[in-house]
């Protein structure tokens, strides 16, 4: 098992803020909008240095999505910033008609996704957003794993023409990916090569998968760990190449089982390579108030849960 050294832990939303600020300097067409959550989305630096390209919309997310779509017509590249819940469920029809169906170059940037939003509770803890967004034709869906990767993804999506959903979160997590990485949309990253089982993880669960890999190594299980930072387009080639070697898989995500990463893996395996799969995800339940760590534990999203899923899938593989 490879080592993944890091010097500090940071929140992924700050990676977005840092990437957006760099884009402000490098790309005059980049504009930013927020629905009364400038600080929560870490958009303060962009607002301070590029006030003429920053639009405060107030608490009106539907209007924000429409305005963003309109801005693209004049060649602007709008980045909208609010919580993941208000970036998707609240404005699904606006995104569907004015952005996705209309093929508009809007970057929907969504923070506080999943249960790690914490104490605010289930009203704000969306666990369905990846599913809603990946179902939309034309939509690209990205869920990076740490500060550096979120920053790199933010910068990369400005150069891609088309609607993008970029999901990140609130808690600090180890910042282990390279600061100088080139983010390739749709290209899975093999973090650790292994022979016994493929672990496909996204977002905050990537670090949990690394922790699980260490525990598994101590048990003599050689896990391949792959970071699926892009949910759509889905890197089918990378997933198939891995499972053709390991012959079984575990998916891990801070999202509902329905509609998430595991669902994409399952569809692919069913079509191309019917092999056993276990899913680490929230199973048809809303979240609740609590600390992020308490919630990750209660909803079965910790490294131990991944280890248990691996042991279960290995038993199925041996049958």
């Amino acid at each position: 098992m490879k080592e993944f050294p890091y010097s500090e832990s940071k929140d992924t939303r700050s990676g977005f803020g840092a990437g957006l600020h760099e884009l402000g300097k490098s790309n005059p067409n980049v504009v930013a909008l927020t629905a009364d959550l400038t600080g929560s989305l870490k958009m303060d630096a962009f607002k301070k240095d590029f006030p003429e390209r920053f639009f405060q919309v107030g608490i009106a997310e539907a209007n924000m999505m429409g305005i963003a779509a309109g801005l693209t017509i004049g060649g602007k590249i709008p980045f909208t910033g609010t919580f993941a819940n208000f970036s998707t469920g609240r404005v699904y029809d606006q995104i569907r008609q004015s952005i996705a169906y209309s093929g508009k170059n809007v970057k929907i940037c969504a923070s506080h996704a999943g249960v790690t939003l914490g104490e605010d509770g289930a009203t704000h803890q969306i666990l369905e957003d990846l599913g809603m967004m990946k179902m939309l034709p034309h939509m690209t869906v990205i869920n990076p794993c740490d500060f550096n990767q979120t920053k790199a993804a933010t910068i990369a999506i400005a150069d891609y023409e088309g609607p993008v959903y970029l999901r990140f979160g609130r808690p600090v997590v180890p910042n282990f990916t390279p600061a100088d990485q080139q983010f390739e949309i749709g290209k899975a990253v093999v973090l650790n090569e292994g022979a016994d089982v493929s672990i496909f993880a996204t977002g905050h669960l990537v670090w949990k998968a690394i922790l699980a890999g260490k525990i598994l190594a101590e048990k003599g299980i050689d896990a391949e760990i792959i970071n699926i930072h892009t949910i759509k387009p889905f890197d089918e080639e990378a997933v198939l190449a891995s499972v053709r070697k390991t012959r079984c898989a575990v998916s891990a995500e801070e999202h509902q089982m329905n509609g998430g990463l595991g669902d994409s893996v399952a569809q692919l395996l069913a079509r191309e390579e019917p092999l056993p799969l276990e899913m680490v995800a929230v199973n048809d339940s809303f979240g609740e108030s609590g600390t992020p760590d308490q919630l990750m534990e209660k909803y079965g999203l910790m490294e131990n849960d991944i280890v248990a899923a691996v042991e279960k899938v290995l038993a199925r593989k041996r049958k």
Partner: protein, 301 residues
């Protein structure tokens, strides 16, 4: 993907250079031909929305044949041009006819309205690449927000042309409209001219009975808009109002034109009734309508 194409300086079309001098009488002739197109389009597929389309024919003809600077060669970004957005997308027949007769695409293509493999979709869309359409509409309440964004992009680009958006009056029941109505004055979007087709009808009945819209002038003025009112079926009044709106733009306030129309205007049995919101005429009714929509030189597709 609909992306702004490389910017080219807009060429004023022949259509437009001729249009600048069009008299109300000439506009009326074009509007009558557009109305013939509308009833024939919806009759051809026994579906679509003739009522609101007929009511707004005078407005769209006035905009495209007299008021707006626009180029049928069509660039998505519309740099240096006035832009028009149709928020109440169900009245697509009137827009399609006016676009075709302005030179955006062949008039014969109107015959493919609502048919399989057509660019002329039931509601306006960019997916098939129909020239003249910049965003999909149909699910109501979204167009004002889109127009605001397009208008703010024009300001950022130093482009001094205007952005027009038409909404239905029933559409004002959608909450997003009021989010946008609050935003535009706050951000001084004064290159925006919004219009409401106040025909007083919606699918289930008169707006007064379904959801009373109240005093729209007072409501928009309270939100900080400059409000004008006009008769949307009288070109002698409509064109001067549109010209007044242009003169009032650039003064810090978004402009709202409340335009009284009659649903089904031009076809007597359709006028003033919500029953023709989304019903197509049968063969007999089509003949009756065409007898009433006379033009000096008929050019049906």
């Amino acid at each position: 993907m609909s992306q702004p194409s490389a910017s080219t300086s807009p060429v004023t079309s022949e259509t437009h250079s001729a249009s600048a001098t069009k008299t109300p009488a000439e506009l009326k002739q074009i509007a009558a031909q557009v109305r013939r197109d509308i009833v024939r389009m919806v009759h051809g597929v026994s579906s679509g929305h003739p009522g609101g389309s007929l009511g707004c024919a005078d407005l769209l003809v006035a905009l495209y044949f007299r008021v707006m600077k626009h180029d049928p060669a069509f660039a998505m970004n519309g740099e240096g041009e006035d832009l028009f957005f149709l928020s109440n997308g169900h009245i697509s027949p009137v827009w399609y006819s006016v676009l075709a007769r302005s030179g955006y695409f062949p008039v014969s293509e109107l015959g493919t309205f609502r048919k399989l493999n057509s660019r002329v979709q039931g509601h306006p869309a960019t997916e098939e690449g129909l020239p003249g359409i910049r965003i999909a509409s149909g699910s109501l309440g979204q167009g004002l927000s889109v127009a605001i964004g397009a208008a703010q992009a024009k300001k950022l680009n130093g482009d001094d042309r205007q952005v027009y958006v038409l909404m239905g009056d029933g559409e004002l029941e959608e909450g997003q409209v009021w989010e946008a109505a609050m935003y535009a004055p706050h951000h001084k979007v004064d290159n925006l001219i919004a219009l409401v087709d106040r025909n007083g009808q919606q699918i289930d009945g008169p707006t007064d009975a379904i959801m009373n819209l109240g005093n729209l002038r007072a409501k928009f003025e309270a939100f900080g808009w400059k409000v004008l009112e006009t008769d949307g079926n009288d070109l002698e009044k409509l064109v001067p109002t549109l010209e007044e709106a242009r003169q009032l733009s650039g003064q810090g306030l978004p402009i709202m034109i409340l335009m009284d129309t009659q649903m089904g205007y031009g076809v007597d049995y359709m006028m003033g009734s919500h029953k023709w919101h989304g019903t197509a005429p049968n063969d007999e009714q089509l003949e009756l309508a065409l007898q009433q929509l006379l033009v000096d030189q008929q050019s049906d597709y």
